[in-house]
């Protein structure tokens, strides 16, 4: 698959795009449209849908050339779109017309996407969600409340998981839809975090209507479709490695270097431990990447999330302990919506507060340890209170 010919083909296409649409001169959307049309958005997608039908590993060839020439990192501009929606739409949208209609403006970032999965009552237990979708002719009528939705206020489309059969066991009664965020039944309210900002939103669905054509996968098959989405969330980590000392640990090391007046041997040892943990995790990702080219991927995706989240917290706790009384100030708690996803990289104290969410969002550390234990080590599952029961009979709260 991963032939030299394919690699040349990708590289040639990328060089042509860069030549004809200099990313330092043309508007971002125009550049990304050219990428899509040249099959460079997701090289493993079919031709015509933003790909070239080649091996996924060659994406790094395209990205290297495009970004070296000054092109944007599109994932950063439309993260749910690129990371989760695109692979799900490609696999489950019902017609090629729909796929193309959704994917191209997604790729250009004209249409931002968001995800309507979690609910106040369904966090770790996502499959227990309560938002209902009831069929009404060629449409579905959706009611419920979603939460932890980033970019909802800027999104044109949303991935929705809703319950279509409350009598079925919880994993069996779910269906997957694409929702128009401009539907009058969709209301978005910013959700303020402890940092003062509103990075996420609550989304209320009040008789929102979704055409049956915008269903992804079969009725009742939503959990399986959602797994496509969630699996792809991780693999979007990318094919290129990171350099030693980059990432969150760089904040601690550079703060340390900038404040020799605060050094103590005990803090130095603590920082070295954190650096070591970051380095061991970085090397583990490198190893996983190497292994992926000769065999299946290892357990490193979940390991990376688990370690990274706890490490982030420890890194910023270290920074705060280093600063002592200097650290217990803030800049501005005034509530504000996030305009861009990297807005949260504010001053140190904001990063510190933000890190508390790392072990909760995208799978709590508790859930990740279950995954490592059960899916990687093959340990037996916990006893279930909800196994096989109709969803509506499972206690909630």
């Amino acid at each position: 698959m991963n032939t030299a010919a394919d690699s040349s083909r990708v590289a040639d296409a990328a060089r042509k795009v860069v030549q004809e649409h200099d990313p330092t001169r043309v508007p971002t959307r125009e550049f990304l449209a050219a990428c899509f049309d040249a099959g460079l958005s997701w090289v493993h997608f079919p031709e015509g849908l933003g790909g070239l039908g080649v091996s996924r590993g060659l994406q790094s060839v395209a990205d290297g050339i495009l970004q070296d020439a000054g092109g944007p990192v599109p994932f950063a501009l439309n993260p749910i779109g690129y990371g989760m929606a695109a692979p799900t739409l490609r696999e489950h949208a019902r017609t090629d017309e729909l796929k193309r209609a959704w994917l191209r403006p997604l790729a250009t970032t004209e249409n931002i996407w968001c995800q309507l999965f979690s609910e106040p009552g369904a966090g770790s237990d996502l499959a227990g969600l309560a938002t209902s979708a009831v069929r009404d002719g060629d449409e579905w009528v959706v009611n419920g409340q979603k939460v932890w939705t980033s970019l909802a206020h800027r999104a044109r489309w949303a991935l929705l998981l809703a319950r279509t059969d409350p009598d079925a066991p919880k994993h069996k009664g779910l269906t997957y839809f694409v929702v128009d965020m401009q539907d009058p039944g969709v209301e978005t309210r910013p959700l303020r975090q402890m940092t003062g900002q509103a990075e996420f939103n609550e989304v209320y669905l009040n008789d929102a209507r979704v055409p049956d054509a915008h269903r992804l996968g079969e009725v009742g098959d939503g959990w399986r479709v959602a797994m496509t989405t969630l699996m792809n969330e991780r693999s979007s980590i990318g094919a290129s490695g990171s350099r030693r000392g980059t990432g969150t640990i760089a904040d601690a090391v550079s703060l340390w270097a900038s404040r020799p007046d605060l050094h103590t041997p005990v803090l130095e040892d603590r920082l070295t431990r954190l650096w070591l943990r970051a380095e061991a995790q970085r090397l583990t990702s490198e190893r996983s990447r190497a292994a992926a080219t000769v065999g299946g991927p290892g357990p490193e995706g979940s390991v990376g999330k688990l370690v990274g989240a706890e490490l982030n917290q420890q890194v910023y706790e270290f920074c705060m302990d280093l600063l002592g009384p200097e650290g217990i100030l803030y800049d501005d708690y005034t509530m504000r919506d996030m305009e861009r996803t990297d807005d949260w990289r504010g001053p140190l104290q904001q990063r510190f507060l933000r890190s508390r969410a790392n072990t909760i969002e995208g799978g709590t550390s508790e859930v990740l340890r279950n995954i490592l234990g059960e899916r990687v080590l093959g340990l037996p599952g916990d006893l279930r209170a909800d196994a096989g029961k109709p969803w509506k009979e499972i206690p909630r709260g």
Binding site: R192, G327, I328, R356, E366
Partner: protein
Amino acid sequence: MADQQDARPFVFTEEQRELRTAVRKFAADNADEQAVRRLMESDPGFDTKAWTRLGSELGVLGLSVPEEQGGVGGTLVDQAVAVEELGATLYPGPVFGTVALAIPALVAASDGPVRSELLGPLVEGTRTAAVAVADRAGAFDPAAVTVQAARAGDDWTLSGTVERVVDAAAADDLLVAATGPDGVALFAVDATAGGVERTPLTTLDLTRRQATLRFADAPARLLAGPDEAERVIGHALVVGSVLLAVEQVGASQHLLDLTVEYAKGRLQFGRPIGSFQAVKHRLADMLVDLEHARSAAYHAVWALGDGSDDPALAASIAQATCSEAFARIAADTIQLHGGIGFTWEYQAQLYYKRAITDAALLGSAEQHRARIARLVLDTASGEAAPAVATG
């Protein structure tokens, strides 16, 4: 609450239990979560009328002030009971500046007109105070004083800057350590006087504010001269450390209760999350941390009263234990609540920010451990060291 020693360590008297109930009720009535949020976004950050009632009606701001100084002549245990309950609700008000530091400093100072004039209104809650003293790891360090005192006849003026003084923005009285011709002394400055510039700061913990103070020939009155300033300030810092520890215990207990209730009621996978070992065992560890923090804080409270332990050691044990316990319990509270725990609307974040703030005040846990090492390890004997097998 007559002037007395508390007879048995760790055993509260009937009066103290009643005091606890009264303060708890007052805090519930005047500082429920909505009130705390309203006050923390208002000026001066607390309800001055309620503060006065705490002092005048409940009489809990200067519980360990001797009767001859106008106090009720209780013990530090009495004061600790009140502070613990105020801590449990994050009671907004200058507990740290006025109750934990300024009043103990005034009590320790020699009698005199300045002390008499200041102490009464602070105990009554009609005025509040902040203490602008450079502490290094919770101990007084005369070399770190950044304010100069100049004498002109009987009058003093102060010049210099003290950064990040807790409760200073709204304080009426400032107790300031300054270096004069004969050494470091402690002065009282009227916060509204000319030459005093206060810059309020945006604090991580909005319920515990700070300000930077700049003095430019600000008029000051001598409270404790170089002969006793170090002792007076040292006493205040030790008492302040211990009351801060007790406050940390109050807040930690609140969080443990809150999280246990949540874990009982929150269902995921058709069962209470508290039935999962991952949640249950974390709560068990929180309980252990809390029990240890409570024991360490109470020990210090009693030891300062009955002299059964070196005050500096007892205070460092309390601070090293309680700072870490409160921060860990607050972080775990957020984790066990999941997403909701991270929101602005939920109370967990208020406590977390208080925990991080308290941990940085009056010395870090690491600094207190270093002091303990000096006091305990450096004086230990190696005589009874176990034999080491040598093969």
